[in-house]
């Protein structure tokens, strides 16, 4: 059985998610926000992939589409050999126990009216994971694993601090015995010292249960600490993907370089070679032509303004979408195509 399983637990192929913009009298679709526009990656079993990018670049949308909390526009999500989007309702229900999510804000993601045992146990009962007579012990066991005490069971979320609430969220996800957990900015709302506790907890649980994480965050130092591979997103597209060491040691894409140079280093005499990106992220409803980053890129060429770059394996295991790393022939070819297109347009206009 084990031999048949692929090395990768999750594969995302050219995933697209567009949100319609409604307008006009009869609320026609007048445009589309391309929140996710062709993202591909895969995650090995038992590893963590970090997903970074500025706010509004579509990180969370990718996560939610993978879990099928949102329907896709195009592309494929393959979880353990099965296409998530071709499952029927019953099959999806079974799948739900295998992939769980931890939300960013532990204050709004817990129901204030349920005691902790119910928050954690509700889904367990719903899916009939444990017999009724073992239910109580099971919840206690899960809570202990997440650093909660047994007497917390009958309390309500408002009696807990932020860090403990996040532990409850983790316990809720873990109770279903999942293989994959999507962590959507799980530590952004917490203090530094609490952050460390939660990160350590996540790592311990990973070792213990062989979990696979997709870790979404905009805090790069946390991502570097926890991830095995890192994907960088910009305006709905993946611009770079590689192993953590490779990408932090020598980032390729100009956006990644700028992003990493902006990380503040806690050393007062550290000399920064900071690249300050001008302007802000363009609107995803009306993204720039060609390479989406060309409006803010330092190394922008004429080609970048018209032709969007290929998603290519620049070095073994290091993917990047940038014309700078194309071979000379490929660039010449693209340039020729671009000129042809321009000429055709002029002809049409004439």
């Amino acid at each position: 059985m084990a031999n048949e399983k692929s090395e990768y637990l999750l594969e995302v192929k050219n995933l697209k998610k567009y949100f319609p913009i409604k307008g006009g009298l009869l609320s026609h679709t007048v445009g589309q926000v391309k929140a996710v526009d062709g993202v591909s990656f895969r995650i090995k079993r038992g590893t963590t992939m970090g997903l970074v990018g500025e706010s509004g670049c579509g990180k969370s949308t990718v996560g939610r589409t993978i879990l099928r909390l949102l329907e896709k526009t195009d592309g494929e999500v393959i979880f353990d050999g099965e296409d998530v989007f071709s499952l029927t309702r019953q099959e999806l229900r079974k799948m739900r126990t295998r992939m769980q999510i931890i939300f960013q804000d532990p204050y709004s993601s817990l129901s204030p009216r349920l005691p902790i045992s119910e928050i954690i146990g509700e889904a367990v009962r719903e899916h009939n994971l444990v017999p009724a007579n073992e239910f109580d012990d099971y919840i206690t066991k899960i809570m202990k694993e997440c650093g909660l005490q047994e007497y917390h069971k009958d309390r309500y979320p408002h009696e807990f601090s932020g860090g403990q609430r996040q532990r409850i969220c983790i316990a809720r996800a873990l109770a279903l015995n999942p293989e994959f957990i999507l962590c959507d900015e799980p530590v952004s709302a917490l203090d530094v010292s609490i952050q460390a506790q939660i990160i350590n907890l996540l790592r311990d649980l990973q070792k213990q249960f062989g979990l696979t994480y997709l870790f979404i965050s905009h805090d790069l130092s946390v991502v570097e600490h926890i991830s095995d591979t890192v994907g960088v997103m910009y305006l709905g597209s993946m611009v770079e993907f590689s192993e953590t060491e490779k990408i932090f040691d020598h980032p390729l894409h100009p956006y990644t370089v700028a992003l990493f140079s902006a990380i503040p280093i806690p050393d007062p005499n550290y000399k920064m070679k900071r690249i300050v990106l001008q302007g802000s992220i363009p609107s995803p409803a009306n993204p720039p032509s060609g390479c989406k980053f060309h409006t803010r890129c330092e190394k922008c060429m004429e080609l970048c303004k018209h032709v969007s770059p290929d998603w290519a394996e620049v070095e073994p295991g290091h993917f990047c979408a940038c014309h700078l790393y194309n071979s000379a022939e490929r660039n010449a070819q693209l340039e020729a195509e671009m000129k042809q297109n321009a000429a055709a347009q002029v002809k049409q206009a004439g």
Binding site: A196, A262, P264
Partner: protein, 382 residues
């Protein structure tokens, strides 16, 4: 179930506490509401004329119905002219309350400065802000001291245009008798100064039309409208992305060099502090546990809390297997212990730690720490 009873308070007890509190706060309020307070009452002298602000043994308490919260409990530090002082600490440690005490924007009547002085250098004279009456404070706020808030969306009014909101500050503090036309001119200048290219357009926009970074720029423009001598930046970049954070930090540095203002920079991000601050103050549970120059704090952290804080933050380029996490949690602010507040979480405890709260020890020219571990060093030095 012992810890459940700790925070339990009967209704009668709560009423008694709130009655007592009202008595105390009424006293303070009566003092504040007097009219025509002579200047001599709040006139004071700076200990060092090179300092812009001196916090001297500041105590700010909140009189709540569950008891008195000692939010700031004896805080002493200086802000030199043209320098940046970074204040670090976890949430609830009193960083923001310290700065609000300087602005006299505490939530009254519950929040009161109970003891201590905040001396503000006004060039030819110095005022003790804690005793200054409201009408004097109105001139100081915005003109001399101004504040940049954390959340730019809540700091801006959603129903007024950007131009009106910045113009309002200028009109309220109209020291130069500007006409409406001049106010508009100055507003546009301010918008350009904070790096907004399309100043005419932004002038007519509403806050929701701007991105987070742009909004923070507007808030900074508002704070700088009257050329303040002290800028309090209360977590100005916490809600922003790293790339935008880099832009805003750059902007603040440039503006500081241009106007030679002092900045009190409050944050919990040690990386940002290292980049911005000349001096660093580390606060824990309402008290300063360590202060010194940025080099002192980052290269020779002395207090166990500072060391723990440094180790618990992952740093890019430094690989560690497991992050250090400070055990336990902050003590209950209503019932503070009388020994060192950090003792129960400290892994470097010595015998003396069960004694009363440690005094501040000077371990080098600029470096102060409150910890028993350095007592011997001091005595040896003497």
């Amino acid at each position: 179930m012992a810890d459940k009873n700790d925070s339990y308070l009967s209704a009668r007890e709560s009423r008694r506490i709130s009655r007592e509190n009202r008595k105390i706060t009424n006293e303070f309020e009566k003092k504040r509401k007097r009219k025509n307070v002579p200047e001599s009452e709040y006139l004071t002298k700076m200990h060092d004329p090179d300092n812009m602000v001196e916090f001297d043994n500041l105590h700010t308490y909140f009189f709540t119905d569950t008891g008195v919260v000692h939010s700031v409990d004896g805080v002493t530090f200086e802000v030199p002219v043209g320098k940046t002082v970074g204040v670090v600490g976890e949430s609830g440690c009193g960083k923001s309350v310290t700065s609000l005490s300087l602005m006299q924007l505490l939530q009254r009547p519950q929040g009161q400065v109970v003891d201590g002085e905040i001396r503000l250098n006004l060039g030819d004279k110095a005022y003790d802000v804690t005793k200054a009456p409201n009408d004097v404070m109105q001139h100081i706020r915005g003109n001399v001291v101004s504040m940049i808030f954390q959340e730019p969306m809540t700091a801006l009014n959603p129903v007024f245009r950007i131009g009106e909101q910045i113009g309002e500050v200028l009109q309220l503090h109209n020291t130069e008798n500007r006409s409406e036309e001049e106010v508009k001119q100055r507003t546009l200048e301010l918008l350009e100064m904070v790096g907004i290219a399309n100043s005419e357009g932004v002038f007519r926009m509403y806050p929701h039309e701007l991105s987070g970074g742009m909004r923070q720029r507007v808030v900074i423009a508002m704070a700088l409208a009257c050329n303040p001598r002290v800028i309090i930046a209360d977590e100005p970049t916490t809600a922003l992305d790293v790339t935008i954070q880099a832009q805003i930090l750059d902007l603040l540095r440039q503006l500081k060099d241009k106007t030679n203002a002092s900045i009190i920079f409050i944050t919990h991000d040690l990386g940002v502090i290292a980049e911005m601050a000349d001096f660093v103050v580390v606060m824990y549970a309402g008290r300063i546990v360590e202060k010194g120059t940025a080099e002192d704090i980052f290269y020779h952290p002395a207090h166990p809390y500072t060391i723990g804080l440094m180790n618990s933050k992952p740093v890019v380029g430094k690989k560690v297997e497991e992050l250090y996490s400070i055990p336990g949690k902050v003590p209950n602010p209503v019932n503070m212990p009388d020994y060192c507040y950090f003792r129960d979480r400290c892994e470097m405890c010595v015998e003396k730690c069960s004694g009363k709260y440690p005094e501040t020890v000077q371990i080098s020219g600029t470096h102060f720490v409150s910890c028993y571990r350095y007592y011997e060093q001091k005595q040896g030095g003497k």
